[in-house]
Symmetry: C4
Subunit: 370 residues, 4 copies
């Protein structure tokens, strides 16, 4: 029954499935979009959309975070991004081009903890729930500043993360379990790609787990590192870990946030149907007119000083729609890249489900992709 | 034996097959094309070709319907299309371009029930069998007008339909079972994509079921909504529902009309061999010189005001053949897109079958597509 | 063990494999090319190469047949081609272009039995073994002329053929069994695509069976008719029929000639390893400088008056090599399209086999194609 | 459990997996790159990188060998390449173009054993460990010269090699077992593609086995010969042979060197995770500014006088990085083609392994490729 085959003498591997490999199967009972809810709640925070805006400087800035909040989602500012490195981050953004070397240069400027605090205070002043992303390497150093400044939700995120990262002996490692226990704010951690890592991260006390590393049209992690996340399988596996963790804790529910291979409303719907509670979107939002990337998208792996793992790439072909059109429409674009959550709502109805929680049980079919 | 695999821990999915994934296997007994019949009869209506022209304004108009009837097929006029919205529909058609926003604008004009009645009367005057398509949302309102005007066959069709659509409480829903029982004309309903929905729709008393939502070269339903119909599997499943319904009713045969992924004669033949009684064609016919779309094709999903799910696209590369050449040839085009039913007749002979009913048993092989 | 899956409820299909899906596995014992023989013998006729030149007017003419014979292969002239329709066939060939309609026009001229006789006599005068292809429809009428003129080998070939073709009642059908029994010359028949048809054709007394319908880069039979031959599977199935027929006759060996999807030396080698005794090549030879098609290739399905199933297409990109370079090299072309049988000889050695008969047992691996 | 299916009646084949078909799965325990070692030792020779530079004249010359050694790898000079044919090899290299016929011409000049000795002496004088590649056909003649001149490691390499090559009777064959036993220097032999051949070659006493024939972007061996190596399967099979040979000898460990389909750091990592001890790289290094191929790559199969099996092709799009950037970075290139071993080190850490030997046990998943 498990889809495992021998790929060479004495060595087996599972077959993984990408979202592109599967399709949703409508049921014999459909319902109108108006009777469908896409609302999502994590910890004390409720959202109209199951949306986390990715911590990319091309997407989330002190200026776009309130807009994303207003449209129903959660915006995550990169705590180690340009806004924590430059007082005049907007000017730096305006000077970017699509060269990786330019990115590497501007991101080589050190993070200033005071600036990070200041950005959080600005966001609080704007009345939004403040979520900040820190890398596992710098969490120990920077998290206290974020917490002191009043962060609402902390996102500890690297390409691939684990609960037990072995560091050099003279370095202070990050013990996620004790770290999270000591924090007063809920924590999202990731990315993870498999059952074991997901379960171990759940046991650290995280409120949510990020599944995937944010693969997008410009990603090359699969080429550079040989790591490729078949997202449908990764989400279903993480959902199994969530179920097992729920059992072992007698009811602690950990949220799953899908991150990667989410270009269209259909992709998002399939991720939710595989067990995600919400999706983290970067590239899709970078396309919006309001996006600070000015039509380009890049994520934190694009500026790595020695081994970049994604391209700065142009995501705005032709006109740039409003963030509202991208998220909830209406739109005249038939590609599936706009009115993303209008599409989710519609397909939930066609599959007969009224809430995201029910929709996680939708029937799937392997289609071989298109 | 069922092709079901575990795609993640504790979650299984069936493997679905597209028409492109399979091929027909000729048998040891072949027969000449002249000894093959492609005739099809549904209710009291007999046709030389197993052809239903899709309710697209790019294909069926009061002017092309008689031509399609004369060539042996059944033309379905969109009861909510331009001919029911504008007195001067021909002028509106002439003013279209390939912008989705233009489509959205012209289709925002309200449907006029009187105009619908008038179009039906025009068609009756032309001596053709009148088939009208209504959406599930507007069937309750518009069907009485169609029936009063003398429609011969009613087509109730949305992208995906079910027998039990849950609407908002203050809305009058469409109870297909009582609705169809009260009608005097035969009804085609769809689209459906799986066994359960097909069986439930059969139980409403429909004369035929449409399988698929009309995927064509410009479709994006799979991107926008994440729904993808592996047509070979969907047809075979619906044929199983037909068999079970035949048993439970002691002999009521419900017709299956395949709609989608039908670009060539080979595609049509494969759909028939998977159990279809007829095929609904849109894009192929839009290519004809007589088509009202003037070389463009679009279907009702292309004009959705908030979430369009297909492109208006150019289907006429180079010259535009006559509708006769497209349907029954002769042709000099070797792509398989013309003389569609000449090809069907020929491959039925090569597989050794004399009638469509027998051809539904043809041997299939999985080829992996080309 | 048989690779059969349920593709829909209650309906199963086998998985077929194309030559592109498999690879040859070298063994632990290799041998030098000089110790390898590619010789082939069918009936009384021995050949240095397992090569049958396809009955395409773009390849075989009274002028190229002797050249092909001299290089080690068997040339088949199309008995219903231009050389049987026109006294000045060379002029007609010179006037062709790449329009299907032009082909349809020139092939609408009737076949003249006297001209067919004359061509055979010319070939005999040139000292070659004469092989003529006739279509199943015209075999009864034309075969006596071919035999009277001294044909050495008769090829009865349609796209797909069967031992029992049901014709209209007033037509004289072709009973292959009695027809072949009455003939003094060996007969090749085809194409076939499966075990049953192959076995039935073997029982007609044919010396050889053609497997496949000659799919090439310009073929559209799979689009037009929905018939697609996974060649590796078709050959292995036909070899199983050959084995069973050998048993039931106590030793009659029927030759298998692979026809289709043979673009490179590797493709040819894989066909032989799947059980073919020889390959029928068209497109590859049409590339040669001496080919009558002047750089274009077409087969008999390209000129069908109502439903053409392949393109006239340009196969000579850049320079045109000699027929000798195409067949046995040497070459400077690294694409695998030249020195076809030098490549076969080399890979037979790398797999450790000295003769074609042994090579039919070579180990295969499914590679998923490239 | 073994992934074997019937591809036709009575004939089975295994499914092989390419590196592109699989991905690496990170584990629940990660470690920093600084705690990872990529060191490799074969016989008495230790290297910082598991790298063998392929014996292509486009990559290894007396001038680049010291540089490759210095960066941590082993350079193999082609003992039958231009440096053994011409005193002024640098001039000959400068005069090359991308025509196969030019290559065939310059490589038709005979190998001069004295020149081979001289090159080895030059390399020794430069202080590098000297590895020379000879073809199986010329090993008997040339190896004594290489040994006399002081070669450190001998590489006997053809496309596909076996322990028992059957030659023409009047030729002196190469008996690898006695030949290797009589040599004082360690020997690498290959390429092999399967378990049996690998095991037999191990029994000749070779220090290492080369798996694969060096497939690269310009390769056509799969087209020309029909041989295709699904590299993941071939490596895993060879690792099984290594395990069995270790058992039967009570502890002799034979190294596996992967050669082919290695374009990125991810490909290299996957090869190591499939059991390789090191990788042989050609095309990747030909891209470097210092490479003698001046931006072009070719391997010994490209100059075959009668049947070339790969293209001379341009591998330097845009700028040419330093060899250091290609091998160990840093880089601004996000494609995965530079900083190859920085990437390997990083992914080893993400999978939680500290040494190459442990990394051979990394978990794999079938991803279907990208």
């Amino acid at each position: 029954m498990p889809d495992t085959v021998e790929i060479g003498l004495g060595r087996s591997a599972r077959r993984g499935y990408h979202l592109a490999d599967i399709g949703l199967v409508p049921t014999r009972r459909t319902r109108g979009s108006a009777m469908v809810s896409t609302s999502w709640q994590i910890d004390a925070h409720a959202f109209e959309l199951p949306l986390v805006a990715a911590p990319s400087d091309a997407v989330v800035s002190p200026h776009t975070a309130p807009l994303i909040e207003q449209l129903g989602g959660l915006a995550v500012l990169d705590g180690e991004g340009l806004w924590s490195r430059y007082t005049d981050a907007a000017d730096v953004l305006a000077g970017l081009d699509d060269e990786t070397s330019t990115l590497q240069r501007v991101y080589s400027e050190p993070v200033q903890p005071e600036l990070l605090r200041q950005r959080i205070q600005e966001l609080r002043a704007a009345g939004v729930r403040v979520a900040i992303r820190l890398s596992p390497q710098h969490t120990v150093e920077l998290a206290p500043h974020a917490v002191a400044a009043g962060v609402d939700l902390l996102v500890i995120q690297g390409t691939v993360i684990s609960a037990e990262h072995v560091m050099q002996e003279h370095q202070a490692g990050l013990n996620l379990k004790t770290f999270i226990a000591d924090l007063d704010v809920p924590v999202l951690v990731g990315g993870v790609t498999n059952y074991q890592t997901a379960l171990h991260l759940m046991r650290t006390g995280a409120a949510g787990i990020i599944v995937g590393y944010g693969a997008h049209a410009g990603s090359s992690t699969h080429s550079v590192l040989g790591i490729d996340v078949p997202m449908a399988t990764a989400l279903i596996d993480a959902a199994a870990a969530r179920r097992d963790y729920l059992d072992e804790t007698g009811g602690r529910y950990v949220h799953l946030v899908a991150y990667g291979d989410l270009a269209t409303g259909g992709d998002i719907a399939k991720a939710l149907a595989c067990g995600a509670d919400a999706v983290m979107l970067g590239e899709s939002l970078a396309r919006a007119a309001e996006a600070p990337g000015a039509g380009m998208y890049w994520d934190p792996t694009a500026s790595h000083p020695r081994l970049p793992r994604s391209l700065v790439h142009d995501v705005a072909l032709g006109d740039r729609p409003s963030l509202k059109e991208v998220l909830v429409g209406p739109t005249s674009d038939p590609t599936g890249e706009r009115n993303l959550f209008g599409a989710v709502r519609r397909v939930m109805g066609k599959c007969g489900y009224a809430s995201l929680k029910e929709f996680q049980k939708a029937e799937l079919i392997i289609t071989g992709g298109r």
